[in-house]
Each structure stands twice: as C-alpha cells, then as structure tokens.
Symmetry: C2
C-alpha cells in the first residue's frame, strides 16, 4: 500500500478524496485524512476500508511529524500560510508534497532541498491557480512548437452560480470564500500590459474597466483585471509579449453594480466601525452618505450614486435589503468589508439544491509565417450538487491526479514547482476530460488591440 496523507478536509476536498478512494483498490492506496475535526475527517472516508480519518492539528509538531513519517506523499489542503511546517517535515522525512496554493517565499526556499532529495513539491495545481496554468501552457507550447510567436495572452477565471440556480439580480452567489470576493482587487492598482505599454487601474476604477467574453451556449460574461497580471510573465516565457492580462469573470452587470459599494467605500477593510455590532444595515450604509437633515437614506444613496429609482442598479440594492432598519450587522469591531459581507451572505449563500459553475477563458494571439492569428479557448463546468461542486472538482481532481502520478513515478522532476511542464499538464488535462473538464478551442481573426499596428 502507498500511503497518502491529506491535511485539511474542507469543502474543496470532496472530489479529491473521492478520486483517490475510487482508485485505492487498483492503485494500492491508503488514504489518511487529518483534520482539526476528527468527525469531519472520518465523514470524508465514507467508511472506505482504505481510508481513515484522524484528528490532526498541524501545529502539533509531534502529531504532524508522525503523520507525515507514515505517508509516502502529503497533500495539504490547508490555507497557504499553514503549509510550511508540513513542507519542512516532508523534506526531513523525504516525502512528496502536493498543494493547490500559490508558492510562498518560504515554500520556494525549499526548492534546493527538495531537489537534493529527489522530491516533487507540486503547488498551484488546483483550478486558479492550476488548470489555468496547464491549459494555457499547453496551447502556448503548441503555438511555439509550430513556429508561432506569442503576441497576446489573456486569461480569465470565474467561480459563479450555475444558470439553473441563478435567481438573483446580481447573477452571483458565494460559491467560494466570500471574503475574497468582498476584498477582491484591494491593496494596490491592477497592473497589466497592453500592446507593449504598461497599464494601471486604481481600485476605485477596477470594476468600470471590464471586458466582455462570450462563450457559445453559455452567453455573455464580463471580466475585471486581477491585481498582478504580470506574475507569470517570465514563468510562462512571455517576457516579450505585447499584451498580458489576467482577470476575474462575472455575469454581465455584476461589476457595474459592485462598483456602487466601491464608490461608497463599503468594501474598505482598513478600519473598524465603532459600535458595528449594534448598527442596522440602514445605519451602516448611512455611514458612507453625506449628512442631510431630511433626505432619506434611500434618496441620499440614489443621489450619491446618481441612479434613478427605476434603474436596475437600484433594484439590486433593494434586493440585498440594504436599507433594513431592523437587521443588525452583529459583528464586533467590523470593518466595512466585514459588515458588507454579512449583508451579502444573507442573500448570496447557496441554497441546498444550488449548483455552482466554473468558467475559464483564454485568448492567445500569435504571429505565424507573417500572419496574425488568435486561438480562444474556454472551459465551463457545472457542479453536480453541493458536495461535488464544480469548485471541488476543478480544485481537487488535478491535485489528486498529480499525487497519483507522482507516486507512480510518471511525474518525477524534483523541486518546488507549478504545473507548467508537459510531463505534468499533458496527462492531467487528458484525464480531466473524463471528468467533464474540457477546453473548447476556436480560431478567430487576430483580435489584438492594434491588429493593423497603428501607432497610438
């Protein structure tokens, strides 16, 4: 038996664990699931003979080291900041490691040690980051091998509500960490390059400089810029590319409406509100409106946002019950972002039968034999239910597939890495297709921003 230790049994671990359990007979796997809730860990084993659930506190050094020593490979599904001690133990005891998280500085620092011990430390192999890396590099490598020169790469991902469960004016529900949605884009200007020029979008304009993306059979989406589109420029070998942009996908209209909160200052996470616990929703929004002795909070809101009362934007606010004078924030020392999150969670939390949806869209512009061409590639996956969500599948399946291939010595290149090499992406993208995670490509005329090379 090969022993796999999975640390952290959260919502995104369902498909990961199911995949490994389903293969446990044929592949001789034994799965240990360690979680702060033993009950939770045991539940995830589904009573399978090849699995056990244990109580595991990753900060309990003795227990952690013991669990890691007993494993052949460790999968950490904890938040990124909790990986590092387990990662160091993996070096000590010579175990492979797989995570879906961004490579931290501390993780990167283990690269030499991992290489010296022949260990694969695979990171960023979830959906975003993960499937985005793999699906992009597959096309980029293909274009290059065909003699093409990359001119443009744009990549967009969104975690959304499936159309059949979409029953609100925002066309959005929280299918993942709500906090990340509320503070998205904060902390600095969004940076990207377009036709060779650096471009910056300050946070307060981020949701007004969107672009539309159409996916056949799924309609129109929009995207706003991620903070750092240039992070993978060198990693992908795109140092000379003219246009490089990464973004987040939403249904059309979300960004314009979300911008109302940004403009009012309700997404700020940098200070706490006095007496926030007892504040009503109505009092909360009034914090951000100019004082007036007689105008209602509603009127002041419409005036501040310059919207009419028959504007769809206004109904989006009403739908959130934002002017309720009874409901309280109920959180001590809340930041505006935390208070807003509370209000949104009343309305944007998934119902029992709701399904989620993951969408991804890449654009590759390139020049081949003097001609400019473009490939658009997209992937849409709808979740089965609230256990096997699209999010859990797209995060967990690549992790599981990579883990198995590392154990089977099909992925062997040692060191701290992300899935951008053929050795990794080819077999995993192929296998993901069996699970409905497929990319559709179509060729388009080059749609770059300056196809004629006009100066400007």
């Amino acid at each position: 038996m090969r022993n796999i230790l999975i640390i952290g049994a959260g919502r995104s671990a369902t498909s990961l664990i199911k995949y490994l359990l389903d293969k446990s007979e044929s592949e001789n796997l034994h799965i240990t699931i360690g979680d702060l809730s033993e009950e939770n860990a045991k539940k995830f084993t589904q009573g399978h003979a090849n699995a056990k659930g244990i109580y595991l506190d990753v900060f309990d050094e003795i227990a952690r080291k013991e669990a890691i020593q007993n494993a052949d490979l460790v999968i950490s599904m904890l938040p990124a900041r909790f990986h590092i001690e387990a990662a160091k133990d993996c070096i000590t005891y010579g175990k492979h490691l797989v995570t879906a998280s961004y490579v931290s500085k501390e993780m990167q620092a283990l690269d030499e040690d991992a290489k010296a011990k022949g260990l694969v430390f695979m990171n960023e192999i979830g959906v975003d980051p993960g499937i985005d890396h793999m699906s992009a590099m597959q096309v980029i490598d293909r274009i290059r091998e065909g003699g093409g020169k990359l001119l443009l790469f744009e990549s967009f991902t969104g975690g959304l509500i499936a159309p059949e469960s979409d029953d609100n004016l925002w066309h959005y529900k929280f299918t993942w960490n709500p906090r990340n949605v509320v503070v998205a884009g904060q902390g600095g200007a969004a940076e990207f390059i377009q036709e060779g020029t650096y471009k910056y979008i300050p946070y307060h304009k981020l949701f007004r400089r969107t672009e539309f993306l159409d996916i056949e059979g799924h309609g129109r989406f929009e995207a706003y810029a991620n903070r750092n589109s240039l992070k993978y420029r060198s990693v992908y070998g795109l140092d000379d590319i003219l246009t490089l942009y990464r973004g987040t996908m939403r249904r059309v209209g979300f960004s314009k409406a979300w911008n109302m909160f940004v403009q009012l200052g309700m997404t700020d996470d940098g200070y706490t509100i006095p007496n926030s616990e007892d504040l009503t929703y109505r009092e909360f929004i009034n914090l951000f409106l100019p004082y007036h002795p007689t105008d209602s909070v509603e009127l002041k809101t419409r005036y501040a946002l310059k919207i009419d009362q028959d504007d769809l934007m206004w109904y989006k606010l009403l739908e959130l019950d934002l002017f309720n004078a009874e409901k309280k924030i109920g959180i001590k020392e809340a930041t505006p972002a935390q208070a807003l999150q509370k209000i949104l969670m009343d309305k944007w939390t998934l119902k029992e039968d709701d399904k989620d949806m993951i969408v991804m869209y890449h654009k590759f512009g390139y020049e081949l034999n003097g001609k400019k061409k473009q490939i658009d590639s997209n992937m849409v996956l709808i979740g089965e239910d609230q256990t096997y969500t699209a999010m859990a599948k797209t995060v967990g399946l690549p992790v599981a597939m990579a883990a198995l291939r590392i154990l089977n010595k099909e992925i062997t290149t040692p060191g701290v890495q992300i899935p951008i090499s053929k050795e990794v992406y080819e077999p995993i993208l192929k296998e993901l297709e069996e699970y409905g995670i497929t990319f559709k490509e179509h060729f388009a005329d080059y749609l770059g921003y300056n196809p004629e090379g006009v100066a400007g």
Copy 2:
C-alpha cells in the same frame, strides 16, 4: 545668559530665530543653531553676537549630548521622527524641549520622566498643529465658562499662495512640503462625526465632498476632510459633541481638478513604475488610460474624465504640460505620486518674489440658555517674502514664544504636552497679534447641519 539650542535650520526656522535674536539682548539669550550644514547654521545667525552656528548631526551621540548639555532649553525643528534621541537627552540632562511636531508614541512615553524632573516638553506648537489648538481652545474654554454646551466644532487650515502671487489656474503653489500635498488623504477613509453620526469618505471621493468657506476680504475657499477629525475629540474635552470635522483649505476649484489625478490613479504611492526615469510626461499619463490604437492621449484623457476640451478642467491639465512628449520624469523607480510631484513642481514652485498665505477657519456651534449660537473665527496671514513666509511665521513664532516663556518660568506645568491650556495659549495668542497673526470672530446664526432638530 540663557542658552537655547535650535536643532535643524530649515525654511521654517527663519522667524523663530529672528524672534529670539531680536530678544537676545533684553532677555539675555544665547542661541546655538545646529544643522547638518554648518554654513546654513551660520547664515541663520546673521552674524549676531548672541548666536553661533555649528555643525550638528543629531545621530552623532557625543556631539548631540554635548550640545544639549550646554543648553538650558532645546528647540527641535527636525522632522518629527528625528526628535526622540534629543528628547531623551533632554530628560537625562534636565533640559526643556519645544517642537512643532505631533506627539509621537515615543515622545509621549517620556511624559512621566519629564514630570519627575519638572521639565516642560511642549509639542505641536507650530501652526497646524499649534495655532489651531490654541485659537480653538481659547474659544471653546470661553464658551464653556459662559455656560455654553458645544454642539459643533469644525476647523480648517490651508497653506496657500498669496493672491498677489496667484498666477495659475489651480490657484495653488507648493508653499510647503510638496510630497504631503500629493499624498494628502491617502492611507484610509476620512472619518468624522456629523450630527451624532459617524461618517466616512473613501480616498477616491475625498476631493468631491468639499465645503465652501468665505472669509471677508479674502473671498471663497473650499475644504476637504482630513483623515482623522476625531484625533483631538477627548483632548479638547469634546467627547459628546455632535459634529466634529477637520479639513484642509484650498482655493475653490482645486479639489475638483485634483480629483482628476485621483480618479486616474496618478497619486498612488504604493508601487513603482518600470523604467520611470525615461518615461515622458505623456507616457506617464498614458499608463492610466485605457488602450486605444488610434485615439490620442489627449482624447483618451478627456474621455476617461468625461470633460470637454473647452472645460476649465482641461486647461488646468494643459497648464501643467502633462502631455509633453519630450520632458522626462527622470526619477528611477518612481511611484506615480513621485512622478506626479515632479510634473507639478515644474509649475507650482514659488518664484522669487512670490508670497505665501496661511488661512485658518474655525466654526464653533453651541447652545446657551436654550438658544443655539455659532461663532466663526478666522485668521489670514500673508508672508513678507520668501524668507519670512507666513508658514515660517506661524510655525516659528509660537515655538519661539513658548521657548522664551518656559525659560522665564511663565509656562511651568511639566510633562509632554500640547498647547491647550490657558497658561500657554493666552499669552502666546496675545503676543502673536503683534506679528499680525490675529483671529477675527463673528457671531452667526447656528449653522449646524440640523438646526431644527429634524430627524433624518
């Protein structure tokens, strides 16, 4: 002879030193001016028999301690962060200390020691902070002593260009640290209270929620909110006040025009621009504009800001030569704020004959015998020239007057303090009048934001 050591002979030290030198005979003062530039220090002595200029590096412990030991009182005109070592030495050697800077945590921590040794550590006794504290507390104390209850306190200060030197469309020049102007308001939402309700203005709206202030004989000004209006709420004894607001004064139209830079993201100080040194002004502004293959930078700017080419706002941009394709930023790894500052300094630097102006405006709303009343109080001072500027007078004279009164044992209360007690503000405000720094008061109907007590 009583020895005064002045550390740091900058632009704001001229009036301070002149005042002390003028009194040096009658008051038996000897002034030592220590600066990193001995030449500069000597220049400030004006060859006066009772003064000497010395080279002094405040980080040279031996030299610093020696200079402080030889003094009876130390005035530090260095930036606030450089006071603390000198302050500790003042404790060690039993010397009084005067600064025009905000009280830092480290400075506050010396309070007990200063009290134990009977030393006056007077801070925040320049203009803002300084004259604002004194002139506000004088009226607040008077209202209270007359039995009135404070309802509203608003306080505004501005460092501006004198009308006779105002020759640009922005009605603004840098009369003080340009950097502070460019990054003003950044780092969090502006917080204040209005009619008992907390109010927050996010940075990107700060320059659009201004209020007008009229000063007889000087015309109309506008003010935007300072970041923390509540800082002195308890210190002034205003814990129950309904409206508390502090702001910065500009000539009308400045804020709306400045908002163009804020909206584009050009005031951001949080990241550096690649290759900023070689960027032209035109390329710099283009970083913040959406890409277009054929539209000019000018057209994109007008479109992004929604202004016409005959809008005064547009001429304000043209006046700054912002679209110049030759002039370069010339600063390595500049933040947008640093690059913008460079561009502004081309145009907003004082000419040789330019004079500056300090304006201050307080509003005090209160209830007395069941009636609501208001006192408005303002001060306008125009500089003599570029040596004895309004800024140098309003910063330096209160410092000098406090220093002399401490030596003369007229100000005796020991400890780390700011000038909010009668012992300090009465004599100093009175003497400041001799130097043209006078407050004009007028009584107004109560102009609070809800004079009739209407709910809303």
